[in-house]
Amino acid sequence: MNYHWNWGIYLEQIKGGGETYLSWLMTGLGWTVSVSLCSWAIALVLGFLIGTLRTAPSRRVARLCTAYVELFRNIPLLVQMFLWFFVVPEFLPHGLSMWVKQEMPAKEFLTASACLGLFTSARIAEQVRAGIQSLPAGQRHAGLAMGFTLPQTYRYVLLPLAFRIILPPLTSEFMNVFKNSSVAFAIGVLELTFQARQMQEDSEQGIETYLAVTLLYFICAFIANRGMSWIEKRTRIPGCIAAET
């Protein structure tokens, strides 16, 4: 293959500006991490809430939460991005719609974080539900028999155990958030994939570009993985579930 290699490309000056390609990639990394952490926060809060409510005694609430999960789980992430960014604002009143489309600060970032957060929350909700349902019914009964109210039973008995059971799949989910955040380039968030396309078009050094980007994504996901396994070790209850790993 007839390829012109240039490993110094990262430090080269970009035409017409004082930046280097490396500074483009670093800006991209910053946005990737910001979008990922923001949507992870949204996903954790909503995921635990919805997942818990799916096991609640009220049939109606549980069904509503099932509908929520199915809605976000059954539509591809890329399509959801386009829906939130291009379609939803068209249904707002004209003044508000124009504000969202032109004036709203950081609209790409907020849309992407919310969209990825909601998508991931549906997946976390499923894991939380599975975690709670995997506990023996005796746990719940014992909690209630001790005089705890139902919310107290969840807070002090069921959720702490369920959380520990689902930590391994949550780890994968946290890593997925970083990888899925690459879809945000489609609505114009200046994240890593976006900068990679920009850099490859400008420099024509595609192989060097995508190798660097691969490495940066790998590092992000790997740090997420190590962080979660640290939490897993710290929160382990000896003699309880998954004691030995």
Partner: protein, 305 residues
């Protein structure tokens, strides 16, 4: 199995030995084409009207016609009238890797000839010139770059229009809010839905998007020319033999007036799929290039005076 392979191998060896003349003076792409009996054209799916798919999913366009002429010259040169033409759709992201790794022999799309790309590939003589300008909604009353201060301006990700706006003397002290679409159609949607007041891109692409939009009369091409870009057919680097063949075929069309006819067919008359004309008269720059063919890169057109 094994003996059959050996038989095939013997047949191959005999047939090669019987045909020793050509393979010697052919190099690079022509040698590869001769040996494989196929030539692969890289095509674009929506670069109107240079290279795109019609309603039967067949590639058509100005550069497709130019490339067919080059392929005809290849058939003549190799005396292979039955040469098989393979089509490979390409994108802005993969076109250069696919040419340099040998998947595509002749890229017939809308690629700008610039210095960064010439490190990886080579270009035939320039067959089209585009100017980077902006499309706006007529109702906005915008006619110049300096009216864009603080306004959202759309462009396509993977292009460098924003840098060009910043580099332009009128754009230096302005604060643009750039918004990005993932491809040209998405970026045009940003303008159409008022997320941006202007879309900065190659003027022929803008003219095509406007011509095929829902209300072509609502839009106008306005403002300063931010960059002049020569567009050409792309070939592999360091393959003087094939490049000369392509260049000679194109120069022949320029001399005979055939290229002017092709230009009129694709830029001035109604074209598929909607039978709308682009209405895009030939620029002075391209007229000059037809008189004096050149494969100079974009940088030579935009030197600061």
């Amino acid at each position: 199995m094994k003996s059959r392979n050996r038989l095939l191998f013997c047949l191959l060896a005999v047939s090669l030995a019987a045909n020793p003349v050509f393979a010697e003076d052919l190099t690079g792409t022509l040698k590869k084409v001769k040996e494989s009996g196929t030539i692969t054209m890289g095509i674009r799916e929506s670069s109107y009207p240079l290279s795109y798919l019609d309603d039967k999913q067949q590639p058509i366009g100005y550069h497709i016609d130019v490339c067919n002429k080059i392929v005809a010259a290849v058939k003549d040169r190799l005396k292979m009238p039955g040469l098989k033409i393979l089509l490979q759709p390409v994108t802005s992201q993969n076109r250069i890797p696919l040419v340099s790794n040998g998947t595509v022999d002749l890229e017939c799309g809308s690629t700008t000839n610039n210095e960064a790309r010439r490190k990886q590939v080579s270009f035939a003589v320039t067959t089209f010139v585009t100017n980077v300008r902006m499309a706006v909604k007529k109702a906005s009353g915008i006619t110049s770059l300096d009216q864009l201060n603080g306004k959202p301006v759309a462009t396509t990700s993977g292009t460098t229009s924003v840098q060009l706006m910043r580099a332009h003397e009128k754009g230096k002290h302005l604060d643009f809010k750039e918004v990005y679409g993932k491809d040209h159609a998405d970026a045009f949607l940003l303008l159409e839905t008022d997320r941006a007041v202007a879309f900065v891109m190659d003027d022929n692409l803008l003219a095509g998007l406007i011509a095929t939009s829902k209300k072509p009369a609502d839009y106008a091409l306005v403002g300063e020319v931010l960059n002049v870009e020569p567009i050409a057919v792309m070939v592999r680097k360091d393959d003087a033999q094939f490049k000369k063949l392509a260049d000679d075929a194109i120069k022949g069309m320029m001399k005979s007036g055939e290229l002017d006819k092709l230009y009129a067919k694709w830029f001035l008359s109604p074209i598929p799929p909607k039978n709308i004309s682009m209405n895009f008269p030939m620029s002075e720059k391209l007229k000059e290039l037809i008189r004096n063919p050149s494969d100079a890169p974009a940088e030579e057109y935009n030197r600061k005076k």
